[in-house]
Amino acid sequence: ADQPVIGLITKTETNPFFVKMKEGATAAAKAQNVKLLTAAGKQDGDNAGQVTAIENMMAAGAKTILITPSDAKAIVPAIKKARDKGVMVIALDSPTDPLEAVDALFATDNYKAGALIGQYAKASLGGKPARIATLDLFPGHPVGAQRHNGFLKGFGLAANPATSNELSKPAEVVCMADSFGDQAKGQTAMENCLQKNPDINLVYTINEPAAAGAYKALKAAGKEKDVLIVSVDGGCQGVKDVAAGKIAATSQQYPLKMASMGVDAGVQYAKTGKKVAGYTDTGVTLIAGKVVPGVDSKDAQTGLNLCWGKK
């Protein structure tokens, strides 16, 4: 009989996270002898590109589509059309809004990922008053908002709920700047924040490249010892930076796992016609250099075993 066709749509194919996800899916597909089609938006936030990709995959005969929605809400109508035609749609990494728009979700909760490092930071600082800088993604991006708001929530500050795309700014946040998830821009943002507020003692970053940039700026200012950097992602480079003490803690996610679970589900659907359902948390693990009392964390070595990217 025909090979089952499974489609994987990522936000971009240039972000290492999604590149790894695609590699995971490719490997799983090869192992199970299915045809894997991949596509992506042209840049993060490109919803129209993902809609186009869904349509093209259906045209190519995909019966299962795995997607990391760029825009949780905007993708929903297109997914609905696909599901109406009997396609099983599974969201990877990020949920849709509403959750039920897809058959199943294999994901990390970005809000929770943020919350974990927030709790860690709170505990690390002890009772010291926090002066926080946040290096966010870019205007309007949901993941940027979820991680940012989750971090604040975990830190015990007032913050918008997970459904909001707006970044909260309580008084403790003395500087907010966009890093575009990019190291160079993260560095520039951190430099400017330090200029504005030299006594910043806690830095939240959207991802580890931004954290690396922040570290570089802090080091140049001779402040790398006094300031705590927390981040999200759990890429191998990031975990190494945790081990090296550059980043205090990061929330690790598992793109490979999401992808292979998705492919498995697709194969099962092709063979048996049985769909998977509901939310499967692929887990977030807090990886921290130092253990702080009251917060569960794993050490860098554990993180390195599970990390994605170049080990």
Binding site: T38, A40, K42, N56, A59, D71, I75, V76, G140, N165
Partner: protein
């Protein structure tokens, strides 16, 4: 020459001077489109079907509509870097008014198109009154439109739209193939603009302004008015594009339009319109948009990953224009 027995030699010389006539101008893009389609038909099983073509049309309808406005502007020797962002603003305005303000969908749609038209007018005023280069003007308004979109929407996608706003995304059966209503709107607009450009006085004036602005002014054409109209009208088309994008995706998306700026220019250029103004045919733009759509669809069906798709698009743009250039070369 004046009425004298011109030497036959002279007369013969003249002949070859005759430039490629309009239909010739889109021959190149058309052949490219057919060649690409033929190639993908052999490479991907599911490519050659009415339904897939209807799909491609549906996928290019937003860029296709933006490219109408872009073509008008490029024909006047301008360029618009802001079109995608202006479209995003329009889609936010119309969806927000229809949902949060509870306006009648039709009114909301009109106001959304009004907003994009106003932005187009702003571009036009800056180009005509302060005489700034269109590249700079639209570089600025691109940022402005993006920022306003983000601020006004609070960066939130707008959902739960009334049915009346999205019906253009619904398929209509034509010859047993489902075709989105928006596609028909796009095709109709292309036909109208083609007619207006080639068969009405304002259309010819637009070409004259792009071809030789000073000459157009001296022959009594109000070049300022032509330019203003073009930019405002382009804004209107961006508004309609916003409508189609809302209909297609079912939401008002503040992140929309970011890649469409360059996409629309690519479509115009692939369609054979000169960036120096005054030369080009609107139908070529539709073909240009389709070429991009066919490649994206075909490459995806072939399972080519998106990085390679970007690579191929880059090569394609240069190749298409180079072929055009080399075939036109006289000497």
């Amino acid at each position: 020459m004046l009425a004298t027995p011109t030497s036959p030699n002279r007369a013969e010389r003249m002949k070859d001077w005759t430039r490629h006539l309009p239909p010739m101008a889109i021959l190149g893009p058309l052949l490219a489109l057919l060649a690409a389609s033929a190639f993908f038909a052999t490479q991907a099983d599911n490519f050659l079907s009415g339904q897939n073509f209807s799909l491609i049309l549906q996928q290019v309808m937003v860029v296709g509509l933006l490219a109408i406005g872009q073509t008008l502007i490029i024909l006047t020797a301008g360029i618009d870097l802001s079109c995608g962002m202006v479209m995003a603003l329009g889609s936010i305005v119309m969806t927000k008014l229809a949902t949060e303000m509870g306006l009648h969908p039709l009114l909301a749609m009109l106001l959304g198109i009004g907003a994009t038209t106003a932005f187009g007018l702003l571009n036009g005023l800056l180009v005509t009154r302060i005489k700034l280069p269109p590249f700079i003007v639209t570089l600025g308004t691109m940022n402005i439109a993006f920022a306003i979109t983000q601020i006004y929407s609070g960066a939130q996608t707008i959902t739960d739209l009334p049915e009346a706003m999205t019906f253009l995304g619904d398929p209509i059966m034509i010859l047993g193939t489902p075709v989105a209503g928006g596609v028909l709107v796009m095709l109709a607009l292309y036909a109208m603009v083609w007619f207006a450009l080639s068969h009405t006085a304002p259309g010819r004036h637009l070409y004259a302004v792009g071809n030789n602005r000073e000459a157009a002014r001296l022959t009594g054409i109000s070049t300022e008015r032509v330019l203003l109209t073009v930019y405002a009208l382009a804004g209107t088309f961006y508004g309609i594009a916003a409508l189609l994008s809302v209909a297609r995706t079912g939401v008002g998306d503040p992140q929309a339009g970011q890649t469409e700026n360059l996409d629309s220019i690519t479509a115009v250029v692939l369609g054979g319109t000169s960036l120096f103004g005054g030369r080009g045919i609107i139908v070529g733009t539709l073909i240009g948009a389709l070429i991009v759509g066919v490649f994206r669809n075909g490459l995806t069906l072939m399972g080519v990953s998106s990085v390679y798709q970007i690579l191929i698009t880059g090569i394609l743009v240069i190749l298409a224009v180079a072929t055009d250039q080399l075939s036109h070369k006289r000497a």
